[in-house]
Amino acid sequence: MAAIPFSITRWSAWAPGLDSSAAWAAWSRGAARADTPTEPDSSFVPAGMRRRLSPLARMVFAVARDVVDEGESMPTVFASRHGELDRTVELLSSIARDQDLSPTSFGLSVHNAIVGQWSMFRGDRSEVTAIAAAGDGLELALVEAAALLQERPGPVLVLFAEGDTPEPYTGFVSDVPFRHALALRVERGAEWTLARDEARGAPSAESAALVWLRANAAGAAAFRHDTARSGWVWSRA
C-alpha cells in the first residue's frame, strides 16, 4: 500500500482528567494519569437528545465539538474496536434473564449509532461511516478519510473512542487502560503520512489513539503502531 498523505489541522482528546493538550502532554511524560473521576462536557447538547447519549457517545461528542465550527458540514468516520460494550452486556443480560430488550439500547447498540446521533445533533447530512476493525480502526478510518479527500479538499472528521470495559469482558481487553476519545480534523495535505508495513512487530500495548497521543505530544518524527494484523508507520513532515 502506498503511503497516504494528509494533514491534521485540529485535534482533541478526552479521558478522565485529561481534557487539554497540556494534560495529554503531561500524561505522555508520565506526569499525569487518567484517574480523575470526571465526565466529558455534554451540556451543549439539548436535554432531549443528551438523555440518549451513552457515556461513550458523550466522550465522542465532547472531542468532536472541539474540532468543528458552528454550522460546518463534513463527512465523519468513526472507529471503535469495542464499541458500545455496556449496551451489549445489558442486552445479553436481559436475554439471559428472559426479559424483553430495551428498544432504546437495542436501537443504539449498532456501531453507527453514535455518528448517527452526531449527524442529527449537527443537522449535517454528510456521509458517515462506522468502522470496527479490531486494533486497526484508527488507521483504517484514516484510509477511509483519505478516500473521501480524493473527492474534496476536506475537512473530514475522524473520531475514535473506547469505553471502560465492563464485566465480564475485562480479561479480554488489553489495549484500553482507561476510556478515551480522539477527534482528528483531517484535510488534504502532507503533514502526516501513514503507511502499512508488511513486517509487523509485536502488537502495541495501547490503542492507536493512545499511541498517537503519546507520539504527538513527544513531537516524534515517526512512530509505529503494530496490531495482530498489521504494522502501521506514521511519519510527520
Binding site: A47, G48, R50, R51, R52, Q99, D100, S102, P103, T104, G107
Partner: protein
C-alpha cells in the same frame, strides 16, 4: 401524589434518563406524550417494558385503550393498580 404515582414518576425519569426533570416537580396529571414530559414513541415502548419487568403487566394490542392508559402518570398508576388486583 399517591405512592404508586411517585414510584412511577421516579422510575420513568430514571429509565428514560430524563436528567433535567425532578420527580417532585412533576404533576401526575401532566401528559406524557404531548405535554410537559415531551416523550416519544420509543419512550412509550420503554415504559411498556418497565411495566412488564417491574409489575409483570403485559400491554395488550388495543391501541385506543393503551393510549388512554399511557396518557399520564395518574392513568398509568390506575392501570397498574387495576392489573395488580385483577
Amino acid at each position: 401524589m399517591s405512592d404508586l404515582e411517585a414510584e412511577l414518576t421516579r422510575l420513568i425519569i430514571e429509565t428514560l434518563g430524563l436528567e433535567d426533570l425532578r420527580a417532585s416537580d412533576m404533576d401526575p396529571a401532566a401528559l406524557l406524550f404531548d405535554g410537559d414530559w415531551g416523550l416519544d414513541s420509543v419512550d412509550a415502548l420503554e415504559i411498556g417494558l418497565l411495566l412488564q419487568n417491574r409489575y409483570r403487566i403485559q400491554i395488550g394490542d388495543d391501541k385506543a385503550q393503551n393510549r388512554a392508559h399511557f396518557e399520564s402518570v395518574r392513568t398509568l398508576a390506575a392501570f397498574v393498580a387495576a392489573q395488580r388486583t385483577a
